[in-house]
Subunit: 320 residues, 2 copies
């Protein structure tokens, strides 16, 4: 069994590569839920859905989120309420796009959670509905919410930062509300305990992997098996593969490079996979306490993705 | 000021006629909310929406509910979850059709209620968004739910009866859960107190007007001004203009005729408008305690609708 930790797009793409080299029945992915939000009364889990849609081959390849062949009729109709919303109300937001077909996923999740199902249970059901065969777990069944402090402005939700502000505002702090009272699920703990290897996907170290680490016990659990944990750097040539990881690391005082990533992950993983463009930093990665494994990390073809997956498993000591 | 009590389609059509003879600024409609439901986490008020969409000219003329030029992509996508829903779960129902554009209305209502707004406030905002100029009030801001006992089967919700079962199962009882603890809104009480005339629209006497009468004080309030209250019979020639009112009256021991309607409304209204096909029953209507006013009641043209509205006002003593 291989267990992967990650967020949305980076984890989804890494998993797509991994499934070329490991049978789906042997893969468990534990996904960040701190980006989850409630809009229009609907429970939305963006990272989980991105992984499911990607592995199902249903993701829109151009946008990188949401479903293919999507329509936006509900969103368009929402516009008429902007003029009647009282001041102070944030009802009927149109900045978070929800496609008409995608809505069905949120309807199902919301109804099942309302019936008392756990997010873990609902996630498994949604994955099955999309024909996804890996074991997909929520990081926690409790509410943890990433809160972003925008420099000179105050705190906003992750989606307000990521989508409404298009992550183009300076960040001065990040916290994970609720993390102190939340616990990893039993299934997640087990998957991290029994796995032959654990891989940290090329996700944002601060807001995709950070929430895991804010949960009691995660760091200790990985530290205890550190030799069989590898991580794929989401920073290549100093820039994030996707999203604001580079800027955010800078703004929060971490070096935006594979070295900065190594400093963050050294306590919980033994090897860091870095792209050849960063080979000159291998010594500094090692000085930060991680073994550097140089392998092409930009998953632009199935072959590169499969080779990256293989290297990440080997780095974690898995015999594949 | 003219105040109208009613449910969905019957009230909507009556109001459309009324607006030909009374300025919108002088009309208040108080609408049944006991058909309201929550599906997919969304707060849905079918009667209120039917009135708003009809008065906005946005209703689908063939279906009689929902919006024109509607699409059904979210509903179609919901189908994939039927196979993964655990037994006992009622998540992802596909028997209650929600059009993609229509969803935006439920999104807005759900979000505003979640912010603490009353249903009365949200209803006014949605009406304004659709350009509806009459004052539209919810019957109550509290939760009242019509519950239908299906003979030999047990109790189901109103929408399960009306939509899922297409009101084609025999009914042995109706009750309005929550009505004992609910109160009419202050705005509704005022509209019923200060109105020059009150008209009970041609709605189902049992499940559209019944919920109003289950609220403390409504019957007394109308009885106290009975001479200026008229009602339009929803039963014409023994049959309901729309929906299951005829069968339901039969099944619950009321005569399915204008006479049965008169017996129900005699305590709260002085005049009953009946169609010429029922003119032969005028004496029995009078014997039941209501003045019978014979006027074409099938609102098939704007002229007939306007004449019906005028007659209903005259019957309630309004000088128009």
């Amino acid at each position: 069994m291989i267990t992967v930790l990650g967020g949305g797009v980076g984890a989804a793409r890494y998993l797509r590569g991994l499934l070329q080299v490991v049978p789906a029945a042997e893969v468990t992915a534990i996904i960040n839920t701190a980006d989850d939000t409630v809009l229009h009364g609907l429970s939305i889990s963006p990272d989980i859905d991105t992984v499911i849609y990607t592995l199902a081959g249903a993701i829109d390849p151009d946008r990188g989120w949401g479903l293919r062949n999507e329509t936006w009729r509900a969103m368009e109709a929402l516009g008429r309420f902007a003029g009647v919303r009282p001041s102070g109300s944030s009802a009927a937001p149109t900045w978070f796009n929800l496609g008409d077909q995608d809505l069905a996923t949120h309807f199902y999740r919301t109804a099942r959670l309302g019936e008392g199902a756990t997010l873990t249970e609902v996630t498994a059901e949604i994955a099955r509905a999309f024909g996804v065969e890996i074991t997909l777990l929520a990081m926690t069944d409790q509410r943890v919410a990433t809160r972003i402090t925008v420099r000179g402005e105050g705190e906003i939700s992750f989606q307000e930062y990521f989508v409404e502000r298009r992550h183009s505002v300076p960040v001065s702090a990040v916290r994970f509300a609720g993390a102190n009272d939340a616990t990893m699920t039993a299934a997640a703990v087990r998957a991290l305990t029994v796995a032959e290897a654990v891989v940290i996907a090329p996700s944002n170290p601060l807001v995709s992997i950070g929430p895991f680490r804010a949960l009691a016990g995660l760091d200790e659990l990985l530290a205890a098996r550190r030799d069989t944990v590898s991580a794929v750097s989401p920073i290549v040539g100093g820039a994030a593969l996707k999203g604001p990881a580079d800027r955010m690391m800078d703004e929060l005082g971490f070096e935006s490079s594979v070295v900065g990533v190594a400093r963050l992950y050294a306590p919980i993983a033994s090897a860091l996979l870095i792209d050849p463009v960063d080979a000159h930093l291998a010594d500094q990665v090692e000085a930060a306490g991680m073994r550097a494994v140089v392998v092409p990390s930009i998953m632009s073809t199935p072959e590169i993705s499969a080779a990256l997956a293989r290297a990440s498993l080997a780095a974690a000591g898995a015999r594949r």
